[in-house]
Symmetry: C2
Subunit: 309 residues, 2 copies
C-alpha cells in the first residue's frame, strides 16, 4: 500500500480541492423520511445514520478526496452504532474516498498498539479500515510510537491534535513553556516524526489538527510543520472562512484538508439551500453546499494555490 501522504496528495490533486466531509450524523437533524422517531431504539437510529451517511457518501464521492466519520455520534448509540460506523467506513472506501476516522484516541504501550491495529490500515489490513485516525498527544511521545509504527507499516496516516478549534482549547495548548506555547512543542514533535518519513511528495504520514478558527496560528503551524498534512476543522458553523484557511496550504495547494460537517450534511435546513432544495431534495443541498465550499476555497486561496481538477 502506497504511503498515506502520497495517496492523500493524489486524491486532492485528482479532485482539485481539499474538502474533507465530516460524517457527524445527529438524529434530530436528519432530513424527514430518514429522521428516527423520538422513541426509536438505538438499532433504528443506527440504521438511519447508516442510510444517511451512505447517501451523503454517494453524493460527495465524485467531488472530494476524503470523508471523516466522527466516532462519537456512532458510539453514542452503543454497539449498534459501532456496527453502523463499520459499514459507513467500508462504504466510503468502496466509493473511492479516503477515510479519516475521527476518534481522538490514545493510550500507552500495548494499549495504544491495540487502537493502532484496529483503526489504521485501509482495506483488509485492520478491523475498521481507516486510512487515518486522529489521536491526542497528552500521553506523550511513547504513546504515539505504536501509531507511527502501524501507520508506516500499513500505509496509513495520523492526525495529532495540535491546536484545536474550540474556544477553551487554549487552557493547555496555549500555556507557555520554554518560551513557546504547548501546541508548538507538540507541533515540533509532529514535524520530527513526519520529516523522518517523507515520501516523494515531501510529506510524511504524521499530520496535525489545527483549527480554522485561529488563522494566525494556522500560518505559524504550517511553517512549523512543512512535512505534515494539516487537518483543519472549524470551517463554516464554527466560524472559520475560506480566507482563514488559505494560510494552511503549500505553494502548490497541497498540505491541508479542510473539514466541513454540519455545513454540508445538514445544508437542506439552512439558507440558501433550504428554499432551493428543502428536505425532500436534501442530497442536492449536500452537493450544492459541497460545490459552494470548493468555489469559496478557490476564490480565497492565492492564484495557483489549489490544484486544478
Amino acid at each position: 500500500m502506497k504511503a498515506f501522504a502520497e495517496r492523500l496528495g493524489e486524491a486532492v490533486g485528482r479532485c482539485g480541492n481539499p474538502v474533507l466531509v465530516g460524517l457527524d450524523p445527529r438524529a434530530g437533524m436528519l432530513p424527514e423520511g430518514l429522521r428516527p422517531e423520538k422513541d426509536a431504539s438505538p438499532e433504528q437510529v443506527a440504521e438511519a445514520y447508516q442510510r444517511f451517511c451512505f447517501e451523503v457518501i454517494d453524493v460527495v464521492a465524485k467531488l472530494v478526496p476524503a470523508v471523516k466519520p466522527q466516532a462519537a455520534f456512532f458510539e453514542e448509540l452503543g454497539p449498534p452504532g459501532m456496527v453502523a460506523l463499520g459499514q459507513v467506513i467500508r462504504h466510503a472506501a468502496t466509493a473511492g474516498l479516503l477515510v479519516i476516522v475521527d476518534g481522538k484516541r490514545n493510550d500507552i504501550g500495548s494499549t495504544a498498539a491495540a487502537y493502532a491495529a484496529g483503526y489504521l490500515g485501509p482495506g483488509d489490513r485492520s478491523a475498521w479500515g481507516g486510512d487515518a485516525l486522529t489521536v491526542s498527544p497528552y500521553l506523550g511521545n511513547d504513546s504515539l510510537t505504536p501509531f507511527v509504527d502501524a501507520a508506516v507499516e500499513r500505509g496509513a496516516g495520523l492526525f495529532v491534535l495540535v491546536k484545536t478549534s474550540n474556544p477553551g482549547g487554549g487552557m493547555l495548548q496555549d500555556l507557555v513553556a520554554d518560551g513557546r506555547p504547548v501546541y508548538r512543542h507538540v507541533a515540533e514533535h509532529v514535524e520530527r516524526l513526519s520529516a523522518e518519513r517523507t515520501g516523494p511528495s515531501g510529506y510524511g504520514p504524521i499530520g496535525a489538527v489545527v483549527g480554522a478558527t485561529y488563522p494566525d496560528q494556522l500560518v505559524e503551524l504550517h511553517e512549523a510543520m512543512p512535512h505534515a498534512w494539516l487537518l483543519v476543522p472549524g470551517y463554516g458553523s464554527q466560524g472559520g472562512t475560506a480566507r482563514d484557511v488559505a494560510g494552511g496550504f503549500d505553494a502548490n495547494g497541497y498540505g491541508a484538508i479542510v473539514n466541513n460537517s454540519r455545513g454540508i450534511l445538514f445544508a437542506h435546513s439552512r439558507a440558501p439551500y433550504d428554499t432551493r432544495f428543502g428536505a425532500a431534495k436534501w442530497q442536492q443541498a449536500v452537493e450544492a453546499a459541497t460545490r459552494d465550499m470548493i468555489t469559496a476555497l478557490r476564490a480565497e486561496t492565492p492564484a495557483g494555490r489549489l490544484p486544478e481538477a
Copy 2:
C-alpha cells in the same frame, strides 16, 4: 441515582480495599481452552474475550469494588469487539461492580456531549452503562464541560488524565508553564470542578488519573486535589508497588483506587501462581492474585488508612 463519588466510597468501604481490576483481554495471553486460534475471526476472538471477562468478573465481584474495561482491546476487533464490550459492562454491573470505562475519550462541544451521553450513566441511563469514563484534557476546559454536566445529572464520574504512568508522559505533562508543570494546571482544574460538586463524603464526581510509577507526584497530586478520587494505574507489571501508592489515600483510606490489569488477569502464567494453579485453574490464580494485592496494599498502607471490610 446517588453521586458516583458516594457510591465509590461505599463500595471501597464495603470491600475494605481500593482494588480496581482492569479488564484488558489479549488473545495470545488467554488461558488454554479460551485462547482463540491464530486464524480466528474477530467474532471468535470477541466471544473469547467476553467469556474470559465474564469469568474474571464472577471471581472478583465478591472481592473488589470496581472493574475497568479497556476499550482499546475490544475496539481492536471492530464491531464484534464493541458488542462484547457492551456485554462485559452489563455483566459487571449486574454482578454489583462499579464499571469505569477506560476510553480516554474527548472532543469538543456537541461531540463531547455525544461521548458523555453514550458512556456516562449506569443502568438504563446510557447506551454503554458506564459508572465512569476516563477522559483526556488536551482539548481544554470547554471540552470537559459536557462530561461534567452529564456526570452530575446521571450520578456518574470522570477520571481526567493528569499524570500518566508511562515514561514518555512527561513530554507534555512535565513542561513548566507559569512556574508549575502542565499536569499541575490540569490538577487545579480537576480540583475546582470536583470541589464545587462534593457530596457528603467530601469528594466530587471529577477524579484524576495519576500513575503509581511516580510516587512523589502521587503525594503532591493527592494534596493538590483533596476533593478528587484518584485512579492509579501502573501497579504491578508497570513497576508500581503497594508502597508507591500509599501516598494516594486520605486519612481514612479513601480517595484512591489502584488498578491492576495483567497482574490479575493473567496471573496463571506468572510466578508464583503458575506452579500453584496453572492454566487449568486460572480462575483460582485470578482470585489469589487479587487477594495478594489486597494484602500487600494493607501491609504497606499506614495503619488505619484502609477501611475494614
